[in-house]
Symmetry: C3
Subunit: 340 residues, 3 copies
């Protein structure tokens, strides 16, 4: 792709030779001729004289002495990600249904579909145009999958799930398994009915070995553009809004609501029925205890509290030794007074 | 199912028309004609006038003004779960061995078995009557699986494991992988032998992508009626009793003992060789540190402590700022006294 | 194996009859005739008179009254693990490529390879001599796998990954999935390019359902002899050194560096870009917060701190009630003084 076309695509200002060809993106350190890279800030580049990239994306106000070509934009990292989407499109697999795949007669497959070896598609399920099922991906009965999705190897989607367009499910993801709900009887746990479904909207991406349980009576729902990392647990009847990000190993209990644009770090735990309001940001390893409603802002701790309070609290805890010393001093002063 | 038969099955008192037909269970909010629902308590239903269900299960002493049919029982949620088991039985799959399945000649398959596409059953393994292996489930050599089990897609059971009757293993479960044990030599970690097996008793249910490691020298054991959620880690030689419940992402280290009827919340961690006595309840995100024996009662915290103590401790931590103020006041009082 | 040969192999001192045959290893409690066992310390054996093993490995200075044969060594547990490697070698599977396996024409398979049912090997990938792919293991395109590896059932290795010799990947492991990186645009999260690879050196073992993400721009790397437990998350661009051990459910964020010989307990979390120096030991459920460099020594807590400090801190927290009492006493003393 010619550099001038890239600058145009990014809406950036080109400084240098627009006629050269760019083949791939690379990090500043590893970049070579033909690469485009980016510098996010001063710290990210120790010595600008040795950058081999054919072009560097920098911010409008970034001062740099270099003979490299530059593209100046507002947000270099975002521009870099956008041009990477163009230069490194997802792997296109040829339109084919592997002869080993087991497809129900009444399943409906749209055109330009890839179905790899050892895949299954169940009764009355629908696979949208351009969607790829990689080797060993298994789709149950009555499942709807939209256009241009990628199911990586060994993904499993249980009966009745609904998956939107451009959804990416990484290897080992399980969608629609039974939720974890029992009612204690005298001598056994009776399974509470797990007969709802999972609805995943467009542009959702879900990391490897993450589990999304079906609803018990209602549905579990993941909103448009939400991105979920590996090994995350999403229990029955959870409602996740749009553009939420959830990092690895976080666990979300039954019937939790996470509204739009929340940011959830790794290893966080949510007690059931808690509510996370739009735009809340929750730090790693936090715990949202039962009954909690978490409002917009930054939160951390076990249990979660506003980030400022959490930091003060940690400082307070660290000050206990000094408190003890102060107590001793006061005791001594009082003793002296008494002796007078 | 006729309503009068349902009332009879539940041992409840019918108020209304016993001749109507009930087809499915539903939540209060989403229920329609032909549904049966339940009300657990006053809070779970804001306005009883709009419930469309043909029958509501309520407690004996629950007062409600409604034209709906009612069944009165001691425990409405339990009754609801029990009738759901009848109205929504697990999916029955036809007796078939898919032509793609790879079954050892000397494996023993009882009658009424379902074996889906891309399944494997190894040498000398036994599959009990009515058991279902869904697509891609893989059973190693010399494995015993009882009656009426369901192995969901992509489950793997390692050689020599023993699985009881009516066991449900959700998608991606790994039973019998090597435990994590090494002995440090000068220049490498030498694998401690992992040659024991896994024994799972009747009526156990294990959630998606959970791992149960084989014993190192002895066995790993999960007792009858125990229910385990998704993404749980159960290490080598762990002994879990009967009717234990373990929520998602909890990790149980080697040789831990969890006795009957314990309740373990999510993201709890157990150090190896710890012992959890019968009936203990452990709150989410707690940690049981090495050497700990946890007795009956409620526990929480890192490290775990009795719930009351844990709550007081949190209150104490939150009171540090006031302690500091009190210290300042005392200092001031002393200063004043000294000046006198 | 004759006992005298075992003693010789272990470099130990034989006390007893070297001509007897040993068939397997066993724990002290369960051992029978023909078994070899070990005693690590006094506590591990309540009553030495009932050990049925044909030989017990003990330390050089361990005093025991027994008629069993003994082998005396420096480190009995290590010796036991070493002889177990000999008596219980990993299961050898016959050299075969199952007829259901799907192997690219231009893949390169060395000799003595086992490829089970429903396996895939992609374009231009290489499988080294003696390596086993168990049922359902899937290898993408352009992957290099060394000699004598074992890929357990349903392992998936993404395109371009490089796996050394004698690597063991347990069931459900995902190597080379996309890392979790996005750049926020006004209305969506734009995927940061995830185009690096995963490099795993010789003698690494990775537990069931663990995920190792590919590098974003550079590579993710796991050093020689490192052992990783089940359900661990290793994000993009993480660098793990040699002989590191990482217990279950630990999560390692992007670009973290863990140097040689570190020991990481279970459920630990690492914020991105943190650095763990050679030989550091980190306790279970700890959190390494952003910007932290963890030096050699023992660490624990959220956030991690030196183990001694962490223990003192916990003691301090437990002393808050006494601080409050002391405050009250001082207040009372001051009141008395004032009244005078």
């Amino acid at each position: 792709m010619k550099l001038k076309k890239i600058a145009e695509f990014l809406g950036g200002k080109l400084v240098g030779n627009g006629e050269i060809e760019i083949y791939r993106v690379a990090s500043v350190q590893d970049s070579e001729k033909g690469d485009i890279t980016f510098i996010e800030n001063r710290e990210s580049i120790p010595d600008s004289t040795n950058i081999n990239a054919s072009c560097i994306i920098v911010s409008n106000d970034f001062s740099i002495e270099t003979s490299n070509n530059l593209i100046r934009v507002n947000n270099p990292k975002l521009a870099f990600a956008k041009i990477a989407e163009v230069l490194h499109p997802p792997k296109i697999r040829e339109t084919i249904i592997h002869k080993s795949a087991v497809i129900a007669d009444n399943a409906r497959l749209e055109k330009d579909i890839f179905i790899g070896a050892f895949c299954c598609v169940g009764e009355k399920s629908e696979i949208g145009e351009g969607t790829q099922l990689r080797a060993g991906a298994k789709v149950g009965d009555n499942v709807k999958i939209g256009k241009n999705c990628v199911l990586h190897p060994n993904v499993f989607i249980e009966d009745n799930s609904e998956i939107g367009d451009s959804v990416i499910l990484h290897s080992g993801v399980v969608i629609g398994g039974d939720g974890y709900g029992y009612v204690r009887d005298t001598e056994r746990h009776v399974k509470f009915p797990q007969i709802g479904k999972v609805i995943i909207e467009n542009n959702v991406e879900i990391g490897a070995n993450t589990c999304v349980d079906r609803g018990a009576l209602g549905n579990t729902k993941i909103g448009e553009g939400t991105k979920i990392d590996n090994l995350v647990q999403i229990a029955h009847n959870v409602k996740i809004g749009k553009r939420v990000v959830i990092a690895s190993q976080t666990g979300i209990s039954g019937s939790v609501t996470i509204e739009d644009d929340c940011v959830i770090a790794g290893q966080v735990g949510f007690a059931d029925h808690t509510v996370i309001k739009k735009g809340a940001i929750i730090g790693a390893k936090s715990a949202v205890f039962p009954g909690k409603i978490v409002r917009e802002g930054m939160w951390a701790g076990i249990p979660v509290q506003p980030m400022n309070k959490y930091k003060r609290l940690n400082a307070h805890i660290n000050s206990i030794p000094r408190i003890k010393e102060d107590l001793k001093k006061l005791q001594k002063l009082i003793d002296e007074l008494e002796n007078k």
